[in-house]
Symmetry: C2
Subunit: 416 residues, 2 copies
C-alpha cells in the first residue's frame, strides 16, 4: 500500500494498487491459502465459494478454529451488518451479504445482521433518526433478497434493539475501552461527537453471543464475522476486549474491496463521489454505466491494444467478472484473450454487463417479493431460532484440484 492509501472503517482511498499483503501484516491477520480453502471444503462438505477460490475473501483470523469447532459439532454464528445510508444497496454492499448467505448454508449457522441506524445518524450529516430508521427497513429488503434462512437469521436495528443483554455487553465493552484505544485505532478524538467516539463499542458487541439473550440465551457461542478488510479494526478491538472480559474472541474473514467503476483500487461507495452500480438499476442504466464509466485496461487505440494487450489489474469490467462470473473456465479464457489483445474492451464490457444484469434481475425479482411483513418477520426478536444442523451429502465431487486462495493471482498476471 502506498503512503497515500487510507484505510479506516469510514474511508478507503488509494492512489495506486492496495497492497493487501501489507494490510494483512499491518492488521495481524493471516492469508487464506489453498490448504485452508481445501480444509473449508472438507469440513463443510461444500465446494468453496468462487470468492474463496479466487482470493477475494483473502484473509482471516481464526477461521481454522471455527472449522475445528464446526467439525466437533459446536455451534458457531455469523455476524455482519449495514449502515443504512442509501435508498438502494450497490453491488459492493452486496458482497458481504452474498458471502454470508453462502456461509450460513455451509456452516448451518445463525446469522445476526446489525442495521446501524444510530451510527449513520452520528456520521452522516443531515440524516434524521427517523430517516435512518426508515432506510434500515428498505435496506433490509435488499439483504433478505439474498436468500437468508428466516429460521436462522435475525436482522435488527440498533435504535430498536439496544437494551437488555445487548446493552449489558455494550457497557462492559465501554468500561474496558479507553479513549486512547479509540483514538489509536480509529483516529477519533475530542473533536468528534460522543456518539461517534463511543460508536465502536456498539459495533463490537454483536460479536459476543451473550449480547442476544433472545437468540442464544446465556450461551457463549463462537462468532465468525465476514467483512471487507476495512472493517477489521473493529474486530481487532473486539478480540482484545474479549480477552479481558473472558468472552470468546470473534473469528473473522476479510474480503478485498469491490472497485468503483472509475477506479479499480477504490472501494465502491454510495457517497456519490464514485460511480457505482445500484441493485435497483435498470438494464439500460447498467449497460450505460459500464460502457461509459468502467475504467478500461485496454490499449488507447485498437492498434495499441492488439500490440500490447490489456492490463487486467486496472480493468474494472474484468474485476467485476472476477467477482460475478461463475465459470472459472470462461473467466480464464477471457483473462487470457483480453490480456493478449485478442479480445476487445467492448466485448469484455458486454459480458460484464450481461453477468451483472443477470444478478440484478434476479435480485430485483427476489426483492419485489419482500413485503414489509417479511421484513417484520426477519426483525422479530421474539421467535424460535433454528439452531439445528442439517445433514449434508458427505461427498463433494467437484472439488477443485488446487486452491491457491490468497496466493492465487486475481489478475492472472502470472498464469496467463
Amino acid at each position: 500500500m502506498d503512503e497515500e492509501a487510507k484505510i479506516t472503517p469510514w474511508e478507503v482511498t488509494s492512489t495506486t494498487t492496495i497492497d493487501y499483503l501489507k494490510l494483512i501484516h499491518q492488521f495481524g491477520c493471516q492469508p487464506i491459502d489453498g490448504a485452508l480453502v481445501r480444509r473449508f471444503e472438507k469440513v463443510t462438505k461444500m465446494k468453496a465459494h468462487p470468492w474463496l477460490r479466487r482470493g477475494i475473501f483473502f484473509s482471516h483470523k481464526d477461521l481454522d478454529l471455527v472449522l475445528n469447532a464446526y467439525e466437533k459439532g459446536e455451534e458457531i454464528y455469523l455476524y455482519t451488518g449495514r449502515g443504512p445510508s442509501s435508498e438502494s444497496l450497490h453491488l459492493g454492499h452486496m458482497v458481504p451479504f452474498m458471502f454470508t448467505k453462502y456461509l450460513q448454508h455451509a456452516l448451518d449457522a445463525i446469522v445476526v445482521i446489525q442495521m446501524t441506524d444510530d451510527e449513520k445518524y452520528y456520521f452522516k450529516e443531515n440524516l434524521s433518526l427517523n430517516e435512518a430508521n426508515r432506510l434500515t427497513r428498505e435496506n433490509a429488503k435488499d439483504i433478505i433478497a439474498c436468500g437468508f434462512n428466516p429460521k436462522k437469521t435475525w436482522i435488527f436495528s440498533n435504535l430498536e434493539t439496544v437494551g437488555g443483554s445487548f446493552y449489558r455487553n455494550i457497557v462492559q465493552i465501554m468500561r474496558h475501552t479507553s479513549g486512547n484505544m479509540i483514538h489509536g485505532i480509529y483516529g477519533l478524538d475530542l473533536n468528534n461527537s460522543v456518539g461517534q467516539f463511543s460508536w465502536p463499542c456498539f459495533q463490537a458487541a454483536p460479536a459476543f453471543s451473550t449480547s442476544f439473550a433472545n437468540v442464544f440465551a446465556q450461551r457463549h457461542v463462537q462468532c465468525l464475522v465476514p467483512m471487507a478488510i476495512d472493517q477489521y479494526p473493529y474486530f481487532r478491538m473486539a478480540r482484545e476486549i474479549a480477552q479481558r472480559l473472558g468472552f470468546k474472541k470473534p473469528a473473522t474473514i476479510q474480503s478485498r474491496f469491490l472497485p468503483s467503476l472509475e477506479h479499480a483500487h477504490d472501494k465502491a461507495s454510495s457517497s456519490g463521489q464514485r460511480e457505482v452500480i445500484f441493485m435497483s438499476d435498470s438494464k439500460e442504466v447498467v449497460s450505460k454505466k459500464i460502457r461509459e464509466k468502467a475504467f478500461s485496461g485496454g490499449g488507447m487505440t485498437k492498434q495499441e491494444h492488439i500490440e500490447k494487450g490489456a492490463n487486467l489489474s486496472v480493468d474494472v469490467s474484468y474485476h467485476y467478472l472476477l467477482y460475478f462470473l461463475d465459470s472459472d473456465q470462461e473467466l480464464k479464457h477471457i483473462a487470457h484473450e483480453y490480456k493478449a489483445g485478442r479480445m476487445m474492451t467492448s466485448e469484455v464490457k458486454k459480458r460484464a454487463t450481461e453477468v451483472i444484469w443477470e444478478i440484478l434481475k434476479e435480485h430485483q425479482e427476489a426483492r419485489s417479493l419482500v413485503s414489509d411483513d417479511v421484513v417484520q418477520l426477519f426483525m422479530n426478536p421474539d421467535r424460535e431460532f433454528d439452531h439445528s444442523r442439517h445433514p449434508k451429502n458427505p461427498v463433494v465431487d467437484d472439488l477443485e484440484e488446487q486452491h491457491l486462495g490468497f496466493h492465487f493471482d486475481p489478475y492472472f498476471r502470472s498464469s496467463c
Copy 2:
C-alpha cells in the same frame, strides 16, 4: 469558594467554607429568595419545606417557570437518581429523595428515579455489573421507604432500561455532544474509558420526558430536577442540548451538601474516607459517631466555651439540627444559647442524636416493609401511571411571616 475547593459530580472537597453564592454565579443559576419561597407556597398551597425556608435548597434554574406551568394546570415531572455503590444509603444521600418526595406531594408530580448501575460500574473499580445491579435493588428499598407514591413513581435501573425511546434520546444527545464539551464540563479526556466519557449523555436523557414512552407516551412534559449543587453540570449540559433538539429545558433546584461528621464543609460520602451516618445504623452507633466524631464549634475548654461561645458555622451537630429538626423555634433557641456559650456541645450533640435517631428509626421501620415485591412494583415499567392532580385545601394557614430563602443565614451569624 477558595482555590482549593473542587466541585464535580464525582468529587467535592474544600478546605474552607464553600462559597455557595460564588457557585451560583459560576454555574449561572439563581438564588432562591424569600419571594420565590412565598410564591412556591401560594402556588402549591403547601407550607414550604424547612429546607426551602432555611436556605438548604438555595439555588434554582427556572423553578419560577415550573410554578407558572403548575399554576396553569400543566403537568410537570421530577427526575432524581442514585448511583448504587453502597449497601445502605447515608443521611446525605437521603436529602434529595426526602425533598423530592415532598415535591411530589406539593406538585402532584410523576417522579422518575434513575439507578445508575452502569455509571457505578464505570467509575468504581472492582464493582461487578451483577453487584451494581444488586445494589440497585437494595438502594431502591431505602428510596421507597421515603414514602413515594407508587402510582406516580417509576424507579429504573439503566442496565435494565436503556433501549427503546430512552436509547433514541440518548443517541440524539450523543450526536449533539462533542468530546470537547465533555472535557470542558467534566474534565474527562482520552485517558478515561469510553463508558466514563459518554456517561453524561446517559445521565442527561431522563430530563426529557420523551425518553419514557411507557410513562409519558410522546408528550413533552417539563422536568424539574432536585439535586445537590455538584450535579448541576449535567443539567447545564442537558439544557444546552435541549435547545438544539427542540426539547423542553429541564428546570433544577439545588441544595447545599450535608456535611460529613468530621468536617462541616465536606460533602458526606460513603467512600469510607469520611465518617457518615448510614440509614441502617443502630441507635448506639449513631450516638457513638456523633459523640466521638461530630466536629464541634464549641470552646476547647468549658471556660473558653462560656467566654467565647460556639462557632455554629463549623459545628456539625448544629448543621444536622438545621437539616433535621422540624421546629424553627427550638432551632433558634439552640442556636442562640449555643452561640452564647450557655449551651454545651454535649447538649447539642445529645439533641442531634435524638433527632437523627428518630429519622433513622422511622426509616428502618418503613424499609423493613419494603419487600422485593414492592421493589418490583416500583420498577415495573408496564403499568398505569397516575398523571392526575388531586385537589388540595386552598388555604395554608401557617405560612411563615417572612421567608428569606438563600439570604437566610443558616449559621445565625447575624441573627443571634
